[in-house]
Amino acid sequence: MFANLPLWPDRASNMAGNVDALFIFLLILCGLMCVAIFIMILVFAAKYRRRKGVEAEQIEGSTALELTWSGVPLLIFMGIFAWGAIIYFQERTPPQDSAEIYTVAKQWMWKFQHMEGQREINELHVPVGRDVKMIMTSQDVIHSFYVPAFRIKQDVLPGRYTVAWFRATKAGTYHLFCAEYCGTSHSGMIGSVVVMEPALYEQWLSGGPAAPLPQAGKQLFMSLGCSTCHRLDTQGRGPNLANLYNHPVLLEDGRTIIADDNYIGESILNPAAKLVSGFKPIMPTFQGIISEEQLNALVAYIKSLSQPTEGEAGSRNTPAASPSGQPQTMQVQ
């Protein structure tokens, strides 16, 4: 038991070093601060302990001192804020060409869908050195995707996609925890992230039978009857979905929004919430008809219909081209 006393968590992602650096900096800064204050208190307590005949010296205070010890900490705090913000910004902006893994959390398990078609439960295989973007949603309550060795965490919400990303840097098996309290087996909603050397990872991938996720989505697209309205060659009763992803959409109420995962997901589950300009609200809702995994497949398929050539206007009925290099952001649902 005592042989097993880790004092520092594994460091296995691109983010880990940055977070640790800030942590160590704060440890030193705040440690020094603490020590300074404690020493001062102890010294005063000893040096000015009560003695017969010695009176305390009444001191009003000093504005100059007050201003220093509020101004200087303020400056230091702003520095900490900026440092933290930079890391956070990085944590929340996945690189454009990340590999995408769809994640469904439910009480009390993690389900992963790889683009290549592999599906896993409570175990996630990823290659070393590849940017991986987790696109996550929950089937019931709020969960949180937490890999301590990667220093990343992101809550997973029902009815909406949230995103986390990492680049694993060290092969190994790491804890995956659910960090948001989610009911009885919250502490059992754990798993592992297996980081593999790229070659081994390829091997692992080819081991699976399944068809790629977009292809599964395509089949659903046919079998659910989406294709009756959404034709890929021409404009059917519904809008053409080619080149929808990451492009702006003009809505009936006049707003323009970028079609991200959230938008596409919402359009399928709740078509009336955001109507595309020029179309009637005839699309049926698929909420309760398709599962979160099927939804993910459909979204992956629709995304596969737009080529990653960014900044090209495409054949969309949209007012403007999408600015390229847009980070993925979350959306209100």
Binding site: F2, N4, L5, L7, P9, V19, L22, F23, L26, C30, C34, I37, F44, A45, Y48, R49, R50, A56, E57, Q58, I59, E60, G61, L65, E66, W69, S70, P73, L74, M78, F81, W83, G84, I87, Y88, E91, R92, Q107, V141, S144, Y146, P148, A149, R151, D155, L157, G159, T162, H175, F177, C178, A179, E180, Y181, G183, T184, S187, G188, T329, Q333
Partner: protein, 542 residues
């Protein structure tokens, strides 16, 4: 120490004026109401502490073996809810504040004595709901009630718990309201704002938060109840509701509420440090301003509890920045306490030991707050034991220390008796050691990644957990000690005179225990606060 007459037998005071249950339950005397609160919250503290011990026992081993998973979830939920809403929030304001504020400003009572009694009854009704919740099986939402878990996925007594807190909230609002009006309207002649003791300032600032924040919690919990009972869809993602809206509303109250749980403690410590250094508090004006600043800025930072919850990147930046602003006035407080001791005449009485403990542990807790407010770092440590350690350092290491220290400091005034000094020091030391052993390992656990609210955990975390559990038993002993000797001292303690500490402040200028209307005649204040230059010197027992 043979039979010494009952406290204050020599003069008529609030304790011996009337006897009998009725004279207590129908009293409008703020001092008696304070004692009613003291009894009630002590009761709840031991309930909450009992749950804490069970939590710690379960966590002794990595496997979930002592209790069921659901039971564990109920334990930390009830622990959090009882400790926060039924112990720590009322602790200093409703006990010490109630007792002292009118005396410190030279008033006969609070502005609304009957509302004061009412607020105790409301507290008791809320407490009964809480007990009902506990006895019928408890709720397992976590103290935070996060939706949609609390609204749609649990079939425990969530509504009862919400109602309990809803009701207790009104008690808190009424106390705050009473204090605000009292401080504005009831000060004795000459008691200007710049002469108010810092304890009064701190409670005044606390009251602002109670009055402005608590109603938002009330409506939020009411909506949760409606959602459970009638399936309203306001927070339900199934209906398009946004679960984050709940979190915004909850933390709009509950972040400021953490300052309800520390500001009064800061007030206590200011009094103690001044008294036992025999000095005016260094930078009085800044100290007073700082508590108000904390109360106001405290309302601007709530979403720092939601950095990974899915709020917008930009909102997160704003809230992180604002969180640092609120830390500045806290820094001012720490530095000024330290400076107050400079060239003082310091004695190490029990209250002073608690004050040392407070300053040290609050500083550590506060500084780790800076870690949490740093966005990129919070992503890693949020919802881990790092957070648990952070807030126990402030709430237990800080506020509970201040509260117990304050009880010791004013015990002669409250009871008319002295507590046994050496036992006091021993208890303070025990608590300090037990506390650090319990919670320091949790910082490491947190950074290692152990999530909070875990019933079972990975074996590599065991050593630190064992340390923590060991600490909690020491802590428990430390908390039982004062209970025992306070009770003992009520009968056998040395009779205290008017001002055993040689302290400045109006409360020390009336008899111990004070007469029913506090002063025989309304005092007229002509001196500044903390005029230790003139206060009588008292030799302190070593």
């Amino acid at each position: 120490m043979a039979a010494i007459p009952l406290p204050g037998a020599e003069h008529e005071n609030y304790l011996n004026k009337e006897y009998g249950i009725r004279s207590w339950l129908l009293t409008t005397d703020h001092k008696r109401i304070a004692l009613l609160y003291l009894l009630s919250i002590t009761f709840f503290f031991f309930i909450g502490g009992f749950f804490a011990l069970l939590i710690r026992l379960e966590l002794l081993t990595p496997a979930g073996d002592l209790v069921q998973a659901d039971t564990y979830n109920k334990l930390f939920t009830m622990h959090g809810q009882v400790m926060v809403f039924f112990f720590l929030i009322p602790a200093v304001p409703a006990v010490l504040g109630n007792f002292l504020i009118p005396i410190m400003i030279g008033a006969k009572d609070l502005a609304f004595p009957r509302i004061n009694l009412l607020s105790w009854y409301i507290f008791i009704i809320g407490g009964c709901f809480m007990l009902y919740t506990i006895l019928t099986g408890g709720a397992d939402t976590g103290w935070t009630f996060y939706t949609p878990l609390s609204t749609s996925f649990l079939d425990t007594h969530v509504v009862a718990a919400a109602v309990a807190i809803f009701i207790a909230g009104f008690s808190s609002i009424l106390t705050g309201l009473n204090f605000i009006v009292t401080v504005h309207r009831m000060r004795a002649p000459g008691m200007t704002w710049s002469r108010l003791p810092l304890f009064v300032w701190a409670n005044y600032a606390t009251s602002i938060i109670q009055v402005l924040g608590t109603p938002v919690l009330a409506i939020t919990l009411a909506l949760v109840a409606l959602e459970r009972l009638f399936h309203f869809g306001i927070f339900d993602p199934q209906k398009g509701g946004d679960p984050l809206l709940f979190q915004h509303l909850f933390w709009f109250y509950s972040h400021p509420a953490v300052y309800i749980m520390i500001l009064p403690g800061m007030g206590v410590v200011s009094e103690i440090v001044a008294c036992f250094s025999r000095k005016r508090v260094f930078g009085y004006k800044f100290m007073a301003l700082a508590v108000i600043a904390i109360a106001v800025f405290g309302f601007l930072v709530w979403a720092h509890h939601m950095f990974v919850a899915g709020i917008s990147l930009y909102a997160a930046l704003v809230f992180s920045l604002l969180s640092y602003l609120v830390a500045v006035p806290s820094a001012i407080k720490v530095f000024n306490w330290t400076a107050t001791m400079y060239k003082g005449s310091i004695s190490y009485t029990t209250p002073m030991l608690y004050a040392f403990g407070f300053i040290g542990l609050f500083t550590m807790g506060g500084l780790t707050g800076l870690f949490l407010a740093a966005l990129g770092l919070d992503v890693h440590v949020t919802d881990t034991y790092f957070v648990i350690a952070h807030f126990h350092y402030i709430m237990v290491g800080g506020m509970v220390m201040a509260y117990i220290g304050g009880l010791h400091f004013w015990w002669p005034k409250i009871s008319g008796r002295m507590y046994p000094e050496s036992w006091g020091r021993l208890a303070a030391l025990t608590i300090f050691i037990g506390f650090n052993l319990t919670f320091f390992p949790q910082f490491i656990l947190g950074y290692l990644g152990m999530p909070r609210r875990y019933w079972q955990y990975s074996p590599e975390y065991q050593v630190l957990n064992v340390l923590s559990t060991a600490g909690s038993t020491i802590l428990a002993v430390g908390y039982v000690l004062p209970m025992v000797y306070f009770l003992w001292s009520m009968r056998y303690g040395k009779v205290a005179d008017e001002n055993p500490w040689g302290a400045a402040g109006l409360e020390w200028m009336t008899a111990s225990p004070p007469p029913t209307f506090n002063f025989d005649e309304t005092p007229e204040v002509t001196w500044e606060a903390y005029n230790y230059g003139e206060a009588k010197e008292v030799p302190v027992e070593r």
